[in-house]
């Protein structure tokens, strides 16, 4: 046996064969996340220079800087990074299982379903974050079961799933708007802040609590990756290599549902991150199959960047969801146009 050369350069990273290009892309996106986080922590009506931000984060800043950077801005930046990553992982799971780049949880109406659950909880139960999170999870699960049954015809096929999902999504969105109009003004104002997805008023406590609950599912998503890669070879081939296709698909979708519910519980239904991040990651790495790590990093960068635009670039402060919708809409048009060009 000659030297190990399987045709492309394998880089042994934690005993996993990873392509060099993926690593370079991952490092670049990670650097982008770090730089943008530091800049975001410094931006605002009380600007802090990047070197002061880093000093403050290391515990050597002055009292005012510490209050502003760690107390006020850090939860928001952490929320953008972690929720962006969670949404991207959920999107990657859905797109891989359905083999369709359009089948992401936000398009299918799961984010809106989670928000419906959250609104009902706000009105009927309590405004505390654990109640919100449970409500979001139940709403998300109910929406996904509803979409599944409505698109089931002796098996679920990708295209029908998407059409049904878009329909359910629109219905849930109008239900959400109707509820916001009908409920008490005080609750409505509290709730409507989340209507488009926003990181305004994210507290460290709520974020930490929800992330703690979501963490095992994020780990589960990574554990499912090898089996999901086998599924890309077709159900028969996957089954012949020791995967149980139905089990893996169900687990992956359930994991995706929980991650979307978690993100929605903290920040409301943020659109397009779950849709766009995995596809951008795939194009960056030029890998034929999904990369959860790179998707998560791209998702973090997308939401962080969108939030920076929402807060600082535009003349009025907008909910971050409005920016992701615009950015995502542009992306969606580009994707559809290139897809049409490829087909014609």
């Amino acid at each position: 046996m000659t030297a190990v050369d399987v045709g492309y350069r394998r880089v042994m990273l934690g005993a996993l064969p990873v392509r060099t290009r993926s690593i370079v892309a991952g490092a670049a996106v990670l650097a982008g996340v770090v730089v943008l986080s530091v800049l975001s922590l410094g931006w605002g009506t009380y600007p802090v220079a990047p070197d002061a931000v880093i000093r403050t984060l290391l515990g050597a800043g002055d009292a005012l800087d510490t209050t502003v950077v760690v107390g006020w801005r850090l939860p928001r930046v952490l929320a953008a990074v972690t929720l962006g990553a969670l949404l991207a992982i959920a999107g990657a799971l859905f797109q891989t299982v359905t083999r369709n780049p359009l089948a992401s949880p936000d398009i299918l109406g799961l984010s809106n379903g989670a928000f419906t659950g959250m609104l009902l909880t706000l009105v009927l139960v309590s405004t505390s974050w654990p109640a919100r999170a449970v409500g979001a999870l139940i709403g998300c699960l109910v929406a996904s079961v509803l979409i599944w049954f409505l698109s089931y015809r002796g098996g679920v096929q990708g295209f029908r799933l998407i059409v049904v999902g878009i329909g359910v999504s629109a219905m849930l969105a109008s239900l959400n708007t109707w509820m916001l109009l009908r409920i008490e003004l005080e609750t409505a104002m509290f709730a409507s802040a989340w209507g488009h997805g926003t990181l305004n008023g994210v507290t460290g406590e709520a974020l930490g609590g929800v992330l703690l609950c979501a963490a095992p599912f994020a780990v589960a998503a990574f554990a499912l990756v090898p089996a999901l890669r086998q599924l890309e070879l077709g159900d028969d081939m996957a089954a012949a290599s020791g995967v149980r296709p139905h089990l893996v698909r169900t687990l992956a979708l359930l994991t995706g549902v929980v991650l979307v519910a978690a993100a929605t519980a903290v920040a409301g239904p943020i659109a397009f991150v779950a849709l766009a991040a995995p596809q951008i990651a795939r194009r960056l790495a030029r890998t034929p199959s999904l990369s959860l790590t790179l998707s998560a990093l791209v998702g973090a960068l997308l939401l962080l960047g969108s939030d920076a635009i929402a807060q600082h670039v535009l003349p009025v402060t907008l909910p971050v969801g409005v920016v992701t919708v615009s950015v995502g809409g542009a992306y969606l048009i580009v994707m559809i146009v290139t897809e049409i060009r490829r087909r014609v």
Binding site: G7, Y8, E232, G234, D236, M237, S241, G242, R286, P288
Partner: protein
Amino acid sequence: MSDPSRLEARSVSLAYDGTTIVPELSVAVPPGSFTVIIGPNACGKSTLLRGLSRLLAPAAGSVVLDGRDISSYPAKEVARRLGLLPQSALAPDGITVADLVGRGRYPHTSLLRQWSSADEIAVHEALDATGTAELSARPVDALSGGQRQRVWVAMVLAQQTDLLLLDEPTTYLDVAHQVELMELFAELNARGRTVVAVLHDLNHAARYASHIIAMRDGRIVAEGAPRDVITSERVEAVYGLPNVVIDDPVTGGPLVVPLRGGAFAERAAAAATGLEA
């Protein structure tokens, strides 16, 4: 041939959506054999292969792998003993040959043990055995049909199973590539693997198989060495195809030559009435 069979079906009924395709069938794959399953379209031969490889759970009866019911094994354990090349395998867009063949190592990995030098070696051996080593960096979608099929075989070989099940592995290939693949399977068989293949080409079956199973309407019509199974009468009974069987000028084995023209029409009509009766 006193060794026990490693893979056998015991009174297995196989059905899709309640429609029974294969009723109560018992068959044992002779150890070390190159077994070929033949039969007309829709005779249940691919269904039998799916049943034998656990892709399709039997409605009744059991499939026994190495002395135990195949459904009692963990999924990965089955995949370490038995490799299957289905007809429906999909190559993800842009995947390279090496990457695809590497996927064959899945049953040997776990969450804690992801990729080792043993996997690397297995991939190399599979590429070498199928003559695809020089293609390893190429994207699979850029290959010819024959090359692509050899790459899929390499992927199944990387599973390192000594039982190899192949569902119509030569369909859609030109005759040269078909022969090339059959030679490859014969070589793998000669090196100790038990090979079970569903084939359409009777003459390939006759030339390469050591054991032939002929099926019709979900039942086994005949089973045994090519010389005993491939006879003119039986080919006509199984396929309804009038023919003569002559000696293969190269191997001396049976060679099926279909009839044509008047003789064909006459005997086909006779065969049809015979079947109806």
